[in-house]
Amino acid sequence: MSPEQENILEAHGVTKQFGGLTAVNDVSFAIPQGSIVSLIGPNGAGKTTFFNILTGLYKPTLGRVAFSGKNITAGRPDKIMALGVARTFQNIRLFGTMTAIENVMVGQHARMKAGLFGSIFRPPWVRGEEQRVRAKAAETLEYVGLRSGVHDQLATNLSYGDQRRVEIARALASEPRLLLLDEPTAGMNAQESESLTRFMQKLRDDFGLSILLIEHDMRVVMGVSEHVTVLDHGEKISEGEPQAVRSDPQVVEAYLGKQEAERQRAEQEGAV
């Protein structure tokens, strides 16, 4: 990462403890403006916890997070979202009894103004706002590839793939500058993952979005990210270009266990 390139998000020494368990330990980390970076690591490494700290769901025990130069450490989630950080969840969290389009409209909550009295008396500007927001929600749903026939279906009744799409649309509708995706390809087949990879690049190019991706599928990670950070047991054990990280022995060990890592190393040495 070149120094003149501005970072949209910076985390310094972020630590999170749950009672005795240190889920994230002194992690520093930056996302360059307009880039796609990945956070990987075995299950329970602390990736989701790190996301929750960035989005304000958890207060970090120590450390500082800044979004485009502004300190957002332990800020309120809704305020952080209003600043331009949107996310999806590892296990989809749509509002089940709302339709797809209503879900996406909630995503625009922070971009709307109607309050209690505006909602009750519904003056022309509120009417206009509702129409704009609904139109934009429909447009965003189309953009993520949801047929207009299902826009008015309840979120629970959508297929798994469509639910993932709606969740991304809900995040996008808030016009974020940084998008956080928590294992978006979970439960997808190779082909779907492949198309999601292309979709992320398209997002970046269309909107100038920066994207932080938590991902298990190495093909997706290698295919899309410019920078990879690896967590294990809450600690950052490696970071850098995807290729370099992939061959880092510590990373291999974290993923495969010590024995397997040694066996591979021996094999490689034998081959040389």
Partner: protein, 352 residues
């Protein structure tokens, strides 16, 4: 790293105050009344014997609340449900006991061995009745809703509480009914330094302590107790380990109900009155006790019960019985504000 020591969003003094309040706020709140009245007593009477008497009466009241509170805590620990009907289960226990006195011919004149035997028999019966009732409620009103949104079983619990109140109303009418004072509950047994220990106090303590010890041992040692703890920790994992979760939950309701039944008997003997509405207030007081101790924690429930008993007695004795419910509820609200995890409760995930 320098960045790590940067202050977070909240200014430091405020954080310190907040941390202090969340650790000691509840204890301060709890100490306020006794300390204030203690000072008042020292000023006006020169000693603390009135406070000590309050404490003793409070502890015997409190042992009843402790027994009821354990039922809340056990059930909450295992199914995360406030068993709203638990207070009514306690009330039915009282009614069964009071009705049974006559059936087996206990009178105020019965003495010695006959009384002990009769009361033991009544104890067993009240415990069984309340235990079976509680298990049945679980089966009918909670089990069908185990996968429903959380509010659903809470609403059926409220519903059942009303049904049982109505049963009580039909059974013994709408007003307080006095029952025979079998143990001469207000008679002084002995007196130490001006603190008068009555028969009722002795009875409350003599029934509660063995029951609590027995139950703690049961949960710690027995297979069923282990199954209960495993299910409370993680029902799915428990199921995988071959534990029959349904049976375990039923057993938990059974035990909780039995303790409430025992409490019902003590209450009847101690207060010498019963009425259909006693369960509502008792239920809320005992629930307050359970939350105060840290819900899910048995020792906490006992501790909370005793403390609430003391607070209740102070209020009854010094402010007026008509204000006691309001004061207990105010404590409940304060606990929720300062420390929802209670005195001995583990920090819940939210608090992490």
């Amino acid at each position: 790293m320098a960045a790590a020591s940067l202050p977070a969003a909240q200014p430091a003094p405020l954080r310190a105050v907040r941390r202090f309040l969340s650790s000691y706020g509840l204890i301060l709140v709890l100490l306020a009344m006794p300390v204030a009245f203690g000072i008042q007593d020292l000023r006006t009477e020169g000693d603390l014997s009135r406070l000590a008497n309050n404490l003793l009466d409070g502890l015997s009241n409190g042992s009843v609340w402790a027994l009821v509170a354990i039922g809340y805590t056990l059930v909450y620990g295992i199914v995360e449900l406030i068993n709203f009907a638990h207070g009514e289960v306690f009330m039915i226990g009282s009614f069964v006991a009071a009705g049974f006195f006559g059936t087996i011919g206990l009178t105020a004149a019965t003495g010695g061995a006959g009384l002990v035997l009769g009361l033991l028999l009544t104890l067993v019966l009240a415990m069984l009745a309340s235990g079976v009732l509680n298990t049945m409620i679980e089966r009918v009103a909670y089990r069908p809703l185990r996968n429903a949104p959380k509010l659903a079983p809470l609403i059926t619990a409220v519903g059942f509480s009303f049904i049982l109140q109505n049963v009580g109303l039909l059974w013994r009418g709408g007003s307080q009914q006095s029952i025979i004072d079998l143990v001469k509950s207000q008679k002084e047994l002995f007196n130490v330094f001006g603190v008068s220990v009555t028969n009722g106090d002795a009875l409350a303590v003599c029934v509660t302590i063995p029951l609590v010890l027995l139950m703690t041992a049961f949960i710690a040692k027995s297979r069923l107790g282990k199954a209960m703890r495993a299910t409370a920790q993680d029902p799915d994992a428990a199921r995988l380990m071959g534990i029959n979760v349904d049976t375990t939950i039923s057993a938990t309701f059974m035990i909780g109900g039995m303790l409430a039944g025992a409490a019902g008997l003590i209450y009847a003997l101690y207060q010498t009155t019963v009425w259909y509405f006693q369960g509502f207030t008792a239920g809320l007081i005992a629930f307050t006790a359970a939350v105060m101790g840290g819900i899910g924690n048995i020792r906490g429930a006992v501790l909370g019960g005793l403390i609430i008993g003391f607070i209740q007695q102070l209020s009854d004795n010094r402010i007026g019985t008509q204000w006691t419910p309001a004061i207990v509820f105010a404590y409940l609200v304060m606990i929720m504000v300062f420390k929802p995890s209670g005195l001995l409760g583990e920090e819940t995930r939210e608090a992490g």
